[in-house]
């Protein structure tokens, strides 16, 4: 047996010995298989059991409490204008890095002429990145972004300003609902390389317990809720 195999054997048999378990015990195997297959939910906080308008308010207020700017847009034009307005407000160039996300690409960018769009992963020089969240959990104001060509992960971390578009219908009550959505996309037991749960801009309190934004990730997070 290779050393790696020996190491593996060593740990697994130490664990089995400590537990007084033997290999190939059908009852144990079944218990584990069942739990993994059934993935039962635990207690979901009551605050997630509200109707949609209240949930949306909860989502927004939780995001804002962490220093995120939130804009509601009823039309795609409004969304584009909000994005541009935010760039101007913070004296950033009218430029965005985004991925291949169909929804983002097909926004009516003509509504803000002169805006420069670059596509692909962030390279460290972009001032602002735009992603679309595939879902969000209202319970703690948490956005859910997934890796891939549509919304490269680096967009959420390298640019100093991160903008996230989310469709109102993609805001679900709780984390468990988020996971069910991911299962619908990636299959049971499947996930993409990275799932980011993002609840605010980057921050640190390491020095003298003073909170400062933009420790390593974005200094600012701007969320546009469309719908």
């Amino acid at each position: 047996m290779s050393q790696a195999g020996q190491h593996r054997q060593s740990i697994l048999s130490a664990v089995r010995t400590a537990l007084g378990a033997r290999l190939g015990d059908p009852a144990r195997d079944a218990a584990v298989t069942e739990r993994l297959r059934g993935h039962p939910r635990g207690t979901v906080p009551a605050r997630a059991h509200q109707d949609e308008p209240a949930l949306l308010d909860l989502f927004q207020s939780m995001l804002e409490s962490q220093g995120t700017e939130v804009t509601r847009a009823t039309t795609p034009e409004e969304a584009v204008q909000a994005i541009a307005a935010d760039l101007r407000l913070h004296h950033l160039p009218l430029a965005l890095r985004l991925g291949e996300d169909e929804v983002l690409r097909t926004l009516p960018w003509g509504a803000t002429p002169g805006i420069k769009l670059c596509f692909g992963a962030a390279d460290g020089d972009d001032r602002a990145g735009l992603s679309r969240a595939v879902a969000a959990a209202a319970e703690t104001g948490t956005l859910v972004l997934v890796s891939g060509p549509d919304n490269p992960t680096t967009l959420a971390f390298l640019p100093e300003s991160h903008k996230v578009l989310i469709h109102r219908v993609d805001i679900v009550p709780c984390y468990e609902d988020v996971f069910d959505r991911l299962r619908a996309i990636y299959g049971e037991g499947g996930l993409p390389r990275t799932v980011n749960l993002i609840s605010g801009p980057s921050r640190t309190a390491d020095i003298e317990q003073t909170i400062v934004r933009g420790a390593h990730g974005p200094k600012r997070l701007h969320v546009v809720i469309l719908g």
Binding site: V32, H39, G42, P45, T204, D206, E208, A215, H216, G217
Partner: protein, 478 residues
């Protein structure tokens, strides 16, 4: 039993504690940090009515996982491999160090970035990599500051509370090369901005990124990290190779189980509802991903965990490293993290450190507790910390470790306590003598054999006749 890596307690606890107690700046900093975290946790708990129920569920999840740990490890391993990653089992700290070094060499690494990982400190990884000529850049702001100072953390969540901004500015001037010496580093935002710029270069230039894992999920083969800075994410996304270092008890079965634990973790640690970034990593970048690591490795460390399974220290394996016990411990709050001389300080460290390094080397940790019980009260995983510390004291006692005077005093006390008549005869004689010795003063400023008390406190004198003596007399009155 774990390797005696450099993380084992090496110095005199009492000396270190005395130093910490005498350090007024540290005392002020500890007081603020402690009160802050205690208040925030209480607020977060009050805002979540389901907190107690979630705690019960989280305990049940961990207990279930531990009783099937071998099977969950195998299931987890299958999913990691299925998603394109590799799993490496490391029975000891040395094994883990060797595996990580080999992976770094295979990746041709010259620069490695690191997210905060207690396991990496436990195994002494940084020194090992640096000795092999690999540059290691800690990226968590507090850890970066400690690294450039050659210092150790004074608090698990706020590692540099013992430093003020002036000290840190001096460290930056000394260590951050190539920047104008006259630049302004007067404010905290100035310091953070400089650290951001300096570490940005490391993030972008790293060949390998190493993170810990707050959780491992068997259902999907995922590792989960929680941060506020985003440094963990830059560490695990930018380099070509991502290595996860995690101990085997970090496993939970499903995504739903992770949700339950996550609802307790940040609230217990800092009082936040959730950390800014909670990230699930599963395998390497997929074929059409424009970013992300091309290789994903998980190093699973035992280093003494299996030695705690199924025995009297089993409950300690439920620990999720939230730090609530430290925040609420009056002893930790008085002496800070340095004094413990261990990677794992405070109440959880008092139980875990002897388990990893043996009670002989770590005996002060479970002994330096008043058993006030606050830790157990706030632990989100319902770990009976004082009872576990007491079990260590039993092992300590059985090995004859306590100082002779202590053992003699306790044995003498027990001898008398088991013999009521002798006890009452002796005490009936001695107490009035002591009362007379103290006289009208009612107390002793000094008392031979009791300097440990009278060094810092007066010793109230006995009233005179013992209760039993007076009571028996009053009973035989005609």
């Amino acid at each position: 039993m774990a390797d005696a890596a450099k993380a084992a307690p090496t110095h005199s606890f009492s000396e270190a504690a005395a130093q910490a107690l005498a350090d007024q700046d540290l005392q002020r900093a500890l007081l603020n940090v402690k009160r802050g975290f205690i208040a925030k946790r209480a607020k977060a708990r009050d805002k979540l009515p389901e907190f107690a129920r979630l705690r019960d569920e989280a305990k049940a999840i961990k207990d279930h996982t531990l009783s099937y740990l071998d099977l969950y490890l195998e299931a987890y391993e299958r999913k990691v491999i299925e998603s394109g990653g590799e799993v490496h089992f490391a029975p000891t700290a040395k094994d883990a160090r060797d595996i990580v070094l080999r992976l770094c060499r295979d990746a041709g690494a010259r620069l490695v970035t690191k997210g905060k990982s207690m396991v990496s400190e436990e195994i002494g990884l940084d020194d090992h990599l640096e000795a092999a000529g690999i540059e290691v850049a800690e990226t968590d702001l507090g850890e970066h500051i400690l690294q450039i100072r050659g210092d150790t953390p004074s608090h698990i969540i706020a590692p540099v509370i013992h430093l003020n901004k002036e000290t840190i500015a001096a460290d930056f001037i000394r260590d951050h090369d190539g920047l104008p010496p006259g630049r302004s580093l007067d404010t905290v935002p100035d310091l953070v901005a400089e650290a951001r710029a300096v570490l940005r270069e490391k993030f972008l230039g790293a060949d390998v990124g190493i993170t810990g894992a707050n959780l491992l999920i068997a259902e999907t083969g995922s590792s989960v990290i929680v941060t506020n800075e985003g440094n963990g994410d830059l560490t695990e996304t930018l380099p070509a190779t991502h290595i996860v270092l995690a101990s085997i008890e970090k496993l939970v079965p499903t995504l739903e189980d992770a949700a339950t634990v996550l609802r307790l973790l940040a609230r217990s640690a800092t009082g936040q509802e959730i950390t800014t970034y909670t990230t699930f990593a599963t395998g390497p970048a997929r074929a059409d991903d424009p970013d992300g690591p091309r290789a994903y490795h998980v190093v699973l460390l035992d280093n003494g965990r299996s030695g705690m399974l199924g025995n009297e220290f089993h409950d300690m394996l439920r620990c999720i490293r939230c730090g609530a016990c430290l925040n609420h411990c009056p002893v930790y709050g008085a002496i800070g993290g340095h004094a413990y001389g261990s990677v794992y300080p405070g109440p959880m460290g008092a139980v875990l450190t002897p388990a990893l390094y043996g009670i002989d080397q770590a005996r002060d940790l479970p002994n330096a507790s008043s058993f006030c019980g606050r830790c157990e009260e706030v632990c989100p995983m319902a770990i009976p910390l004082p009872a576990l510390m007491r079990k260590w004291r039993e092992r300590d006692f059985d090995r004859g470790n306590p100082p002779f005077r202590q053992r003699l005093a306790l044995k003498s006390w027990a001898f008398l306590a088991k013999r009521p008549r002798l006890y009452h005869a002796l005490s009936g004689f001695v107490m009035p003598v002591l009362a007379r010795l103290a006289g009208a003063d009612g107390r002793f400023r000094h008392f031979p054999l009791a300097e440990a008390w009278t060094g810092t406190r007066d010793l109230p004198a006995p009233e005179g006749e013992t209760f039993q003596a007076r009571y028996r007399k009053s009973r035989v009155k005609p």
